[in-house]
């Protein structure tokens, strides 16, 4: 299922992989600095949300319900990580 989605738009998923990898490395690199780590989490969720807009715009199904779902998944990611660690 996942692979079918990825096979259809490999370049877009490559961008997502790149963004998430950058975020993960930045988070680990700044492990001594919780201020920067918080910003990395916001950046990660923000870029994921922007990626979703781009992805669904290109797919032609950019619907308000889909936008809200990505927004909530992004917020869930922020809450899970930031409220656990800080």
């Amino acid at each position: 299922m996942m692979f079918t989605e990825i096979k259809q738009k490999p370049f877009e998923y490559l961008i997502l992989l790149f963004l998430l990898t950058i975020s993960a490395f930045a988070f680990i690199y700044f492990s001594y600095d919780s201020f920067i780590q918080r910003r990395v989490i916001y950046f990660s969720a923000g870029t994921y949300f922007l990626w979703s807009l781009y992805h669904h715009y290109r797919r032609g199904d950019l619907q308000p319900s889909i936008v809200i779902e990505y927004l909530l998944i992004g917020i869930l990611g922020i809450v899970l990580l930031s409220s656990t660690l800080f």
Binding site: M1, D61, L76, L80
Partner: protein, 293 residues
């Protein structure tokens, strides 16, 4: 009941071919539940201080050894242990517990340098490193060495002496160990090993360093006798991990059945959600406790 559970996790006609757990209302519920859980942990730590906390194997001796080891690898001289500086560091740690703060300057306006002078140490240059919630000494030193400003203190060639405070107590309701390093170089005219002031407040859980540091035995962990019951970080990770497993499992089921049944619908990318949440989950699981300041 079974029908409701089925609607929660399996895409079907009755839920408009989208698992209810993946709908905005349930995602909002997950966020609210997790925030409430975190608030509950915070409240519990205040109502029943000491139940939650971090156990520690940190020793003053190992902090000293590892600090000097880092200096030696950089070609710098070893720092000489000074018991008066250690008293100053212990008082600083105890002051943070007593006044419930985590900073270089106290809410009453005390600076780190006030502790140096109160302990009877006259310095020409001085510095302070703070750490809390760490499990062992290696991770404390590792975190300090990763931070440019803390690393500068450890590797500052201007410092000649060091004092270390490793004190356990309850900060914001959480049982923890505070580690304080006080670096300094004495004024040329000052006595490097002055007597400890008689009116000094000595934390009960810490062994007071004697002037002859070479015979000092401070190699035992300070917190071994009173380990807290639950680590708040481990508790949060367990609950966060459970949420992650639920959501990702439903995403897999939803994606698989949608593909299998060839359901056509406007939907978000399950692969994207799984990838994003997986990164968040991994960072959460592999992050360790410990803060430096």
């Amino acid at each position: 009941m079974n029908k409701f559970i089925s609607r929660l996790i399996i895409p079907q006609e009755t839920n408009n071919y989208k698992a209810l757990l993946l709908r905005p209302s349930f995602l909002t519920l997950f966020i609210v539940v997790y925030l409430l859980n975190q608030q509950l942990i915070h409240t519990l730590s205040l109502i029943k201080p000491g139940i939650l906390g971090y156990s520690s194997e940190i020793t003053q001796q190992k902090v000293l050894d590892l600090t000097n080891q880092e200096r030696l690898t950089q070609g710098l001289s070893e720092l000489k242990y000074n018991p008066v500086l250690s008293l100053s560091a212990q008082k600083k740690a105890q002051d943070m517990f007593d006044n419930n703060y985590w900073a270089h300057n106290s809410p009453q306006g005390k600076t780190p340098w006030d502790f140096f002078t109160a302990a009877g140490y006259q310095y020409s240059v001085a510095g302070e490193n703070l750490a809390k919630d760490f499990y062992n000494t290696d991770s404390v030193i590792g975190a300090w060495m990763k931070s440019p400003t803390h690393r500068d203190n450890i590797l500052n060639p201007k410092y000649e002496e060091i004092g270390i405070g490793v004190v356990n107590g309850i900060l914001n309701g959480i049982k923890t160990t505070l580690v304080v390093q006080h670096f300094a170089t004495p004024l040329a005219t000052s006595i490097t090993t002055p007597e400890v002031p008689q009116d000094s407040v000595v934390p009960e859980t810490v062994q007071v360093p004697q002037p002859e540091y070479t015979t000092q035995d401070f190699s035992s962990p300070v917190l071994s006798a009173s380990k807290p019951l639950i680590s708040p970080l481990a508790l949060s990770k367990a609950i966060g991990g459970t949420l992650f497993v639920i959501i990702v499992s439903v995403l897999f089921i939803d994606g698989y059945l949608t593909l299998k049944n060839k359901t056509h619908r406007f939907s978000s990318s399950n692969a994207g959600h799984i990838g994003f949440l997986a990164i968040i989950f991994l960072l959460m699981i592999f992050s360790h406790s410990g803060n430096i300041f």
